[in-house]
Subunit: 276 residues, 2 copies
């Protein structure tokens, strides 16, 4: 059995991703209201695993989660990609003529912009979580209220789907990371299996310092699958570089990290894992 | 007089940024409901200038706007940084005891998360725009309803500020870009003044292709101030690299672009302008 801390309620995309990542295992969810609380759960109990969204093809990187991950003492041990599809659902007695409000997470609203523009009479009300909006309607029997969530959540909470696949862009994927306390990492992914790493580093204020680092990585046969510079909040002239790397040989990858370390100002390995 | 197309209503952060960028000029706003409409305004009238948010230190890059900018035929001619501060405001007759709903843009809600968590009784309702939410309350005399917006917007619409600076993080900056039809670019910024450029390129599937490009840029003395890889929506294995460059010599920068062009799959100069 795996105990997974997520942000959101049963039926949310984090729940779906947790079951997709551990397909043949019993999953016990620890549902948190914030991502901060997800990391607190892992910190106080080393058997708990965190699963959190990190980027979406439409909405971009979740900078806040990058920040929490970097500051937490956890290690990334896996990733999961999920195709995100939204439905709009309500109580079985309601329909298009009676629904006046739609509740969901702001990111879901952003992903269903055209749909909402086509239904200007619907008042869009923020909720902490897509599935939480559906759960609340079912629990409190809220007439006239709809939720935008995964079709799975609508089914779990016994709601009627008014329309499915209402997201603007059908190529809507979210990438989730799985993280745990470092001493638990080897139980969750044997190091012999890893072919990908997430690292974050800062650089000295010198011309060409990024190109030196990337050139060394390429000399070692390491591929970049993602690179993103982020200003350090509160230090607007300093940047952190979040980089995802893939490789064939763990040894070569480790050597490449040793080779770039003297050239960076600071570096942290967020984790080594198997590419999804 | 400058005619500026923005997303949002009078008093929104785009309006504030427009006046900050053209401090000594009369500004006529063309207020649009979407960023798509902003670019349509520029397309149908070459005298219109677009001003749009492109990244925020807390919320990250606005990928949708990067996409619109890349696909539009416009050229970036300037940038403006703005410190983002939110207030909560309502009709003068209302106060904390009578307000039950707060209306604003989803990004503003994300930037005031702690504030909202501290006021769980307030129902957060989505609006197209921060200033629009304030305008709507003032116009329709909505009792019991508050807006989250710039203090300027509260003043413009005659609303009472219940609390100012309610954003979670005080280091909350947004960067805006100013864009126009290419034939107008030289009127808006003399090329002799430019020291920054925004470019976007894709790379062949070859190991080290990014490091080659960055190494050439560094050989030419060009600095990177931002780099971001984005998957091409619908082609999940292809990436676009958005890069911001600064330089001392326009000639050297032009030569560096010539030097990297044969090594990229495609490249587009989004614009050359003066760093803010």
């Amino acid at each position: 059995m795996k105990r997974i801390a997520i942000q959101g309620e049963r039926g949310c995309f984090h729940d779906i991703a947790a079951h997709a990542y551990f397909p043949d295992e019993q999953v016990q969810l620890i549902c948190c209201t914030t991502f901060e609380k997800v990391f607190e759960e892992v910190e106080k109990d080393p058997t708990v695993i965190a699963l959190l969204a990190i980027e979406n093809t439409i909405a971009g990187s979740l900078l806040h989660n990058y920040d929490l991950l970097r500051k937490s003492g956890t290690m990334v041990v896996g990733e999961q990609r999920l195709h995100i599809q939204h439905c709009i659902c309500c109580l079985p007695d309601d329909d298009w003529t009676t629904v006046t409000e739609v509740h969901s997470h702001p990111v879901a609203f952003m992903q269903c912009r055209s749909f909402l523009a086509g239904h200007p009479a619907l008042k869009a009300v923020e909720a902490d979580d897509t599935a939480g909006a559906a759960a609340c309607i079912a629990r409190k029997r809220c007439r006239g209220r709809a939720a935008i969530c995964a079709a799975d959540a609508a089914r779990i909470y016994g709601l009627k789907i008014l329309e499915d696949s209402i997201e603007d862009n059908k190529h809507n994927f979210t990438r989730f990371l799985i993280a745990c306390q470092p001493q638990k990492a080897d139980f969750l992914r044997p190091l012999t299996d890893v072919d990908k790493a997430s690292i974050v580093f800062s650089l000295p204020h010198e011309e060409g310092s990024l190109s030196k680092v990337l050139t060394i990585l390429s000399f070692y046969g390491i591929n970049l699958t993602k690179i993103q510079s982020l200003p350090v909040i509160g230090h607007e002239w300093e940047y952190l570089f979040y980089v995802d790397l893939t490789f064939d040989s763990l040894t070569r990858y480790r050597q490449s990290i040793d080779a770039i370390t003297p050239l960076v100002k600071s570096i942290r390995i967020l984790g080594e894992y198997r590419e999804h």
